[in-house]
Subunit: 327 residues, 2 copies
């Protein structure tokens, strides 16, 4: 089986990959974008991979476009393992329509869930004012709101929503999941379909957009959505920028509903330096980095090393993409 | 039964207290320190309470000393419900020695546990640097360390230690509890006695002092303790100031073990404005406020309203203090 992967990924997993005992022909792309098989440099048309691993390295090293071109430029690919959780890029649809088995990633979910907890707790705990008091040598007690009796509305309940709920639950918060599939899971207190949002939003203290971007979800957080939000509430977007109408959000923040928005994703990335979002005092912006925990890369390796032999044996993959994944 | 309580506490629970159907004679102290029974003002020697509720109000309103004097100045008291978790004050020992039933409080534990999670996550997530980038309109990714593979050492595993562990666990961290009683609980990965600390400290990424102050625990976090801590680790003290040698901590921070200390309690409170702790860049100080979540007061009310009928029926109290509580 010919396997295309990033040289940095090969370096991390080479011993374990060899130990799988599969008959592999390994083709790598380096940060210099040169394609190699062993010592030999290959032309793009010589790659002809059966399996392609779009590891996080292809994104970090900016070879993702090259990997996608090599994948879609060949008719030999049967299996793609990607680091992406959301498959809104058109290339995944194209691969799927060609019958390529795709497995997306759950590797970023624990990192993103930590990000959400850290950022939300930092809003309700008066960390900044406590630092000010410390600088002033001031013994000033500041009461805080506990998260324990908050109501979380988690829109989208895949790997990411689930990992958030798992960490929120022991605080005692109430968790309502919004999802098309109406199956109550142990991590939820309630489940509701997207159509119920107008009734649910007024009750929610923390609303998290953790859903994929599709025709159904694009611009879901718009003026009408914000008009139903509870004054003083927190909005978190770790899904996709396209889920949210940024102009409508700016108007909503002026009405204190939400009171604060924590945004890791934007309609245009990198966010243009001229965007009015940067300077808004009620916005906490991070550069699409919620998956940036040190464990994401390692969990991605585990996923690939588990899925490659499954593919070789013709078994279903972990996180195998179906028509439904596209929304 | 004559019950002494703060007028603010009575105001909150009066309806529910009446509904208990107990034959109560209610004596209150107001923020003005005047003692009243119904409309009548009482002299201290007229109070003669059987039950005393040291609710959080007595502390907030600065009548705690008065309540303790009324309790210890009478030979009629049989039951004291206190808002305290730690009973290191000598008055509790005196009450206990007189045969008074004392129930301490678990009401602050969820609040303190939230405080610990919020403050520790704020260290590992680059919140401050992300705010700087936002101010500069800079799209700068900063990787972060996940808490998932951290090793927590929780010293003291009562209500507070347990509530911390409950919230830490779904992150995937390893939790070692240090406690005299060697009973492994589901919230722990391991349990060890205090004598094992020299072997445990070098492995711990986060060390929490959540133990009561007693002759055995005073100054436990001293130069020898810090010398065993892991470089880069975090120390949290939400127990008592007397557990920790503040001068030794300042010296240890210079050696990066711990790298950061989060201190909510101090040897002298309020912390003197001249203390060198205030200006240390590796210290995060809060004014004994980790219990300051809005739920603490309400949980304290629940505890008292549950325990009073238990006392009246001669049943064991929830959180009833034993000889062992004193260390």
């Amino acid at each position: 089986m010919r396997l295309l992967l990033h040289s940095a990924a090969l370096k991390r997993v080479e011993t374990r990959l060899t130990a799988l005992g599969l008959p592999l022909e390994i083709v790598t792309v380096d940060n210099d974008r040169v394609i190699r098989e062993g010592g030999r440099v290959l032309a793009p048309e010589e790659v002809r991979p059966e399996a392609v691993w779009l590891s996080l390295d292809t994104y970090v090293g900016r070879q993702l476009r090259q990997f996608l071109d090599l994948t879609l430029g060949s008719d030999t690919v049967r299996y793609v393992q990607t680091f992406n959780a959301g498959l809104d890029g058109p290339h995944f649809r194209q691969m799927f329509d060609r019958g390529i088995k795709i497995a997306n990633s759950s590797a970023q979910a624990p990192s993103i869930a930590e990000y959400v907890l850290a950022h939300v707790l930092a809003e309700w705990h008066p960390l900044a004012r406590q630092r000010e008091n410390q600088r002033a040598h001031r013994w000033g007690r500041i009461p805080f709101r506990e998260m324990g009796d908050a109501h979380w509305l988690i829109i989208g309940f895949g790997h990411i929503g689930r990992e958030i709920a798992r960490r929120v639950r022991p605080f005692g918060s109430r968790i309502t999941a919004v999802r098309r599939t109406q199956t109550l899971e142990p991590l939820m207190d309630a489940i509701a379909p997207p159509a119920a949002l107008p009734d649910l939003l007024p009750q929610a203290d923390i609303v998290v957009l953790a859903v994929g971007l599709s025709a159904d979800t694009a611009n879901m957080a718009n003026a009408g959505f914000f008009a139903r939000m509870k004054p003083g509430s927190i909005l978190v977007n770790i899904g996709r920028g396209g889920l949210l109408d940024e102009d409508a959000l700016l108007a909503a923040l002026d009405k204190n509903a939400p009171a604060v928005a924590i945004l890791d994703v934007f309609r245009e990335e990198p966010l243009p330096t001229t965007s009015p979002l940067w300077d808004h005092p009620k916005l906490r912006l991070t550069p699409h980095t919620s998956a940036g925990g040190h464990g994401t890369l390692l969990r991605g390796d585990e996923l690939f090393l588990g899925n490659l032999p499954r593919y070789a044996r013709g078994e279903p993959l972990v996180n195998e993409v179906t028509e439904r994944t596209f929304g």
